[in-house]
Symmetry: C2
Subunit: 812 residues, 2 copies
């Protein structure tokens, strides 16, 4: 095939597809779709459509939108089923009103059966579905993905059990599990998409998508994209690049739109509005003199949040202890769940004690009633409550609204703390939310009673809005339990009103200050109790002495190239694995690390030698040039290659889908940083270093050489060597290593001792080391950069060793 004008135009565009079907790209700063039109002279004929399809499938925004869509549908459908289940509960309860015991039995048994089913289903299908999921995701995002934690099986188990649990009206929530579900969806979608595009085989990229999954999970739960992104950022507390959050943002925003659109199409709403839309007055939201009340609420909520975490911890530890004694309970997962379910539903039985705590309301109904615009303590208003089913539940002939609210708060408090210890999928966010809203409503009603005419005295009468107190209380208590600030944002998006932003912020900040000084967050507590493999970083006091260093877990069997390697050696090394980069040492004796060399460069050296053997001598050229020279002369179209020395490395055809699973270490493309939404990545597939058929031929051919030629020393003189591959000293601690790997997005690092290469550490080894290192008393939690902060700081101890030990070690 001749080089025609079309080809020339490709060259001008900076793209050239050579005859082996490889795509050469001048590294232009910006690529557009138009640059991707294929060259029809290729050996592999790729249609426009196929190419466009791959580009689209590989584009981030498509993935993000699909993810958002799936999560929105999942969230909506789950909500539908939960509503169905609770309606059925009410229906059974209503038709069995012939006798109160029958009614009680119906009320309790329904919940119990659902609970037992949920617990059983979760334990049989996938026990990994149990719990909130946020602590586990936090662990996963720090680098340790728990086994079986992100599988389809777990997804099914989690979704179905969660629906049943929510249907049984236990005071648990769905946002924590939705973080987990979002991540599972992201991972499974990545796996599915990898059938079409190699970009999804990239581990670093998939890790980014895990973060997005967390954000979209929250976003689709509450239809709060901004709050969802911030919450997932805060809760999973990962390092990240600031502008990078657009991914989560895009996905969560799209998910929220779809989630609310579904509600419109289903006829629940007239248009896109907030999930718990409130209608407080806009002109005068609150009086300045109410601010101290909001601040006081923040402090009390902080205390309450800390106490909730404390209570949860105590209950969990108590249950664990009991379980250890009582083998019966241990054997039978149903029993504990059934007991708690019976206890809770007995107490909420509407004709029984439930009448004093609005027992017949679901969590959603409670929230709607708390956020109501009217003042409950005002008796004139209270009279109209009969019309409204939700509000009527708060009205009792014997008890006033304050007593009922107090009972509600106290009962729900321990019930929630108890419920989230059960072996079922359950989140703590929504129950805390409800309790906080109840507390806020209580304070608000108190304020309304204290100041029936409002506080402001000049001119207008502005009544107190107790519903706003409920909003503030919900945000503050949740902030106290989760130690996040974004609950305030979630609250605003949830209610669709932002004019209480300043009271919300004040109380959220105060709640955080108080609770953070008293207790770790609920998620950190779970991590500690469950002893999850969260990287246990050192505390200032060196209570847990970490004496694992990189030399203890590095891979000592390194394949390396020496300056006096023979062709036989190189051939052996290249055949024994497909690491993209190989270390170059001075000699096998000294092992002094000189740098690293690309596999491709070595292959080129071999090819050149093979060529020399076959034909005449080729003038000495830098081997990266030669690679191209070889390929192009073989196909007799050297014109194009000379024009592009920069783009001379052969890349793989876009649609190639060879097996790359074993190449776990070396996929360093981290897609997580660029802000360019529209920058498609046409050659992303080519970044993977596939074992190549052509290369194999070369290696095969070389093996058939006669002995003397094989024992010839390779001339590396013109080889391009990276003089500064990432190196770590052997004494680097596990923590430092982990921090560097996670912060710098490393895939591997060479380990050196006094300049000598002694090992290599990849993500795999590091992961194993972390998983293997779990102190008996659970883990310590610490900010990720802390080990660097300590360095050289007198207050903290540096990991030191006595000199003689150091010298002994090096001598050995």
């Amino acid at each position: 095939m001749a080089v025609d004008g079309k080809d020339q135009s490709h060259l001008e565009q900076g793209i050239h597809t050579n005859h082996a079907g490889r795509l050469h790209r001048d590294r232009r700063p910006r690529t557009s779709l138009s640059e991707l039109s294929p060259c029809h002279q290729c050996g592999v004929w790729v249609t426009h459509f196929q190419r466009l399809f791959v580009t689209l499938v590989g584009a981030d925004w498509i993935f993000l939108m699909i993810l958002g869509f799936i999560m929105a549908v999942l969230s909506f459908v789950m909500d539908l089923f939960v509503t169905l289940l609770t309606d059925a509960h009410r229906w059974i309860y209503d038709i069995s009103d012939s006798h109160v015991f029958l009614q009680y039995f119906a009320w309790v048994a329904y919940s119990m059966i659902l609970m037992c089913f949920a617990a059983g289903f979760a334990s049989i299908v996938s026990p990994q579905a149990v719990g909130s999921g946020i602590p586990e995701m936090k662990t996963a995002l720090r680098g340790v993905v728990l086994p079986e934690y992100l599988t389809f099986r777990t997804l099914v188990s989690k979704v179905i059990s969660l629906t049943c649990v929510l249907g049984s009206e236990l005071p648990v929530g769905k946002e924590g599990p939705f973080v987990h579900i979002g991540s599972m969806c992201a991972v499974l979608l990545c796996k599915f998409m990898s059938l079409f595009s190699g970009i999804y085989k990239n581990e670093a990229r998939n890790k980014e998508m895990l973060t997005v999954g967390c954000a979209v999970g929250i976003g689709c739960c509450f239809a709060s994209p901004i709050g969802g992104v911030l919450f997932s950022m805060e809760v999973t507390s990962r390092f990240f690049v600031a502008p990078n959050y657009w991914r989560g943002f895009l996905s969560a925003a799209f998910g929220s739109v779809i989630f609310r659109l579904l509600a419109v199409w289903h006829g629940e709403e007239e248009t896109l509005t907030a999930l718990y839309a409130t209608k407080y007055r806009l002109d005068f939201p609150f009086d300045l003199q109410e601010l101290p009340a909001f601040a006081a609420m923040g402090i009390v909520c902080g205390l309450g949040g800390a106490f909730f975490v404390f209570l949860y911890g105590k209950i969990t530890l108590f249950v664990k202890k009991q379980k250890a004694m009582n083998s019966f309970l241990m054997k039978n997962v149903f029993l504990y769940s059934a007991l708690v379910s019976v206890l809770v539903s007995t107490l909420t039985f509407p004709p029984g004690f439930g009448q004093f705590m609005a027992g017949k309301l679901t969590q959603r109904e409670s929230l709607i009633s708390f956020f109501d615009n009217r003042t409950w303590s005002n008796h004139c208003i209270m009279a109209d409550f009969e019309d409204d089913d939700h509000l009527a539940a708060w009205k009792h002939p014997q008890a006033n609204v304050f007593i009922i609210l107090t009972i509600f708060i106290l009962m729900k408090f321990w019930m929630s703390a108890l419920s989230i210890t059960l072996p079922i999928p359950c989140g703590s966010f929504v129950p805390i939310f409800v309790i906080g809203a109840g507390f806020g409503r209580l304070v608000g009603e108190g304020m309304a009673t204290l100041f029936p005419e409002g506080i402001n005295t000049d001119g207008h009468i502005y009544h107190i809005v107790p519903g706003a107190y409920a909003v503030v209380g919900a945000a503050a208590l949740t902030a106290g339990v989760t130690h996040t600030f974004s609950t305030g944002v979630i609250m605003m998006e949830l209610t669709g009103q932002i004019n209480y932003i300043l009271p919300i912020l004040i109380s959220v900040i105060l709640a955080n200050m108080v609770s953070q000084s008293l207790q770790p967050s609920i998620y950190d507590t779970v991590i500690r109790i469950k002893k999850l493999p969260y990287l246990p970083l050192l505390r200032w006091g060196h209570r847990v002495k970490c004496n694992i260093h990189v030399e203890d877990f590095m891979e000592r069997d390194v394949r390396y190239v020496t300056l006096n390697s023979t062709y036989r050696d190189i051939n052996r090394i290249l055949r024994s694995g497909n690491l993209k980069m190989l270390p170059v040492v001075k000699s096998a004796e000294s092992m002094l690390l000189l740098g690293s060399v690309e596999r491709a460069q070595l292959l080129a050296l071999l090819k050149q030698r093979a060529q020399d053997r076959r034909g005449g001598l080729v003038p000495s050229m830098p081997c990266s040039y030669r690679v191209h020279f070889q390929t192009s002369t073989e196909e007799s179209s050297s014109t194009s290659s000379s024009a592009h020395p920069d783009s001379s490395k052969p890349l793989k055809p876009v649609l190639k889908k060879s097996a790359v699973d074993e190449e776990e270490i070396t996929n360093p493309y981290d897609s997580g940083i660029s802000l360019k939404l529209c920058c498609s990545r046409p050659d992303i597939d080519a970044l993977q270093d596939y074992p190549d058929a052509e290369d194999d031929t070369i290696l095969q051919e070389i093996e058939e050489w006669e002995e003397p030629q094989l024992d010839e020393q390779v001339n590396f003189n013109n080889c391009k060597i990276d003089p500064a591959p990432f190196q770590l000293v052997e004494g680097t601690s596990l923590h430092k290593t982990h921090t560097m790997f996670s912060v710098l997005n490393l895939d591997y690092a060479y380990i050196t001792g006094i300049g000598r290469l002694i090992g290599v550490v990849s993500l795999k080894e590091l992961r194993k080391a972390i998983e293997g290192f779990l102190p008996a008393d659970g883990v310590r939690l610490r900010p990720i950069l802390a080990s660097f902060r300590d360095r050289g700081v007198r207050g903290a101890r540096i990991e030191t060793a006595e000199l003689h030990k150091l010298l002994d070690h090096q001598a050995s």
Copy 2:
């Protein structure tokens, strides 16, 4: 002084103050104020009050609140003065209504004089005050603080000129300058606070505070704490730890509260509300069928944003070119400003062309009118406009509202692009905001005319709300120009309504997608045009070949300790500087780096030797133990020391304020990570390694030894050596070095070549290297982690060298 029961209780608390006034603390995970009660046996008697004062001054939240308060007051006072100036403008205009030329003269001259004053003041007092400030802050947060950029002089210059510029009614904004002002306030406040607490001498901490300054600047401008934090994160695009944003959050929230409180106290507002509070209906904000219109607006705004950036770039380059030719313009900074001012105010002159573009409205008034709830194109409503001064400006007997809006948008577009090129402090955010709102209003009015009865046909009639289109348009156009997503959040906080969240998000995302694919953001454009020392990272195509490696800028004159150092050597090294850590090499010949040793350890060795000389032999103990042993035996209270081997390093008294300015390299305490709001840092001051009078005495004493003793070899056998100080290979590129320093918060790194210590790089050297490296054609912008992503990726080139060069280099 005897060791009494009180002392014992201190020991149990984990704190012990020894007799030299040094505070020993067992490194407990959590410290509380109660642990800080001083020990009255101390040499330096510290009162409770002083200690509390230092603790409070050193506490983050105090600093953050003071900063928020200052910024709020500054913002409010500036707004007051601007209102005063514009009112004066109107007054002069009104009283000179006897003749239209007089009126014109008054209108134009007023603006011109203010502009000339602003330009002159800025150029005379501090030319660093010119421009927006965001690009410069972006540079500063990447590591290069421009000279004179954060001084008090610049602050004064910026505040005063900005007030005048805003008073002259040029279409420029104050948010960009406020980012700069916020940072200056943060730095100056740090300097001021450092008089009271040593913690403010920490460079890393102050850098964190710079980020906070950016956030609080935006927060106090718009009373939008959340949007402010997000915007400053996005715009300065730094690496950061997710939970770390509470600092900016706290400061911005407090600042916003104060900013709005001041408005209440001043009588402008009745209570805390949003700055441009809107009152759109809550029950049915928009119809689903309006979503395509919002999406289309997003796309158009994206195009518009890109065009604005393009226009700005063209104007700037044109003016630069003209300036180069026209020496007159260059000499006279006033002339260009005056010309533009005359041009703009001529066009906005209300009786002249200004009548077709609502020329008499200020930017604030325009915004208020755009966000108005009423529909302008409805003639019945239009009739009432006479009552409202702002809306009357949009009514013209000859032209309808569409024509006026179109003229307004077109004129303001080029005026804004022109104005922000002037040598005055000016931001582009608000003018863009106004243009976007105008465009939104235009679309909204169009929609209202197209669908006079609203779109929804089933039952209720919901009219189109053109004001909401203005809100969406403002967010989208600003997003298109700044390439941020947080403009949507700012918009919601600014208007106090969140129910348009989904349209806003959709249009903001689309605007970003479109404009990012066409043009860099306005801030990146400024960085490129101004050729700011922003770290110019390599692009994929290696267009700018960066061949600066760490060896080219490292400090080669390293002070090191060898294994056969004599006491004389150690003494010399210790006296020659006060680096906290010193490298240990095997021998001066081999220079093999073994690790690093603390200065304190070496001092202890010397002290021990001095002790040995004076008294008898002391049994060999690890020297860190010995340090304490020595100090405590000298003061005869060894009981306490033996109990606390961990806390045995002498720390400095809390109130000590000796000069530490020269110790630039070694202050690695990075306070930026911990989420613990309430964790006060009592011993932070002690973390600095001050040159110590006692140490000096020891060093002095040793110098007086006789020769043979001085030439004795030091026995390092039991010295604690950090086996893994941070090391870089000599061939590491400038980019990689910078990335590692900024990401890992390093202060210094040893440079090794094949295990041999050949230099050291500290922040200072790195900064110099970056400042010295500026390619002629401005800088390339690239995500900070990109150099790591490229490593080993075939698509990108690794920085390589030919082997023979490498070997030659190492041989030399």
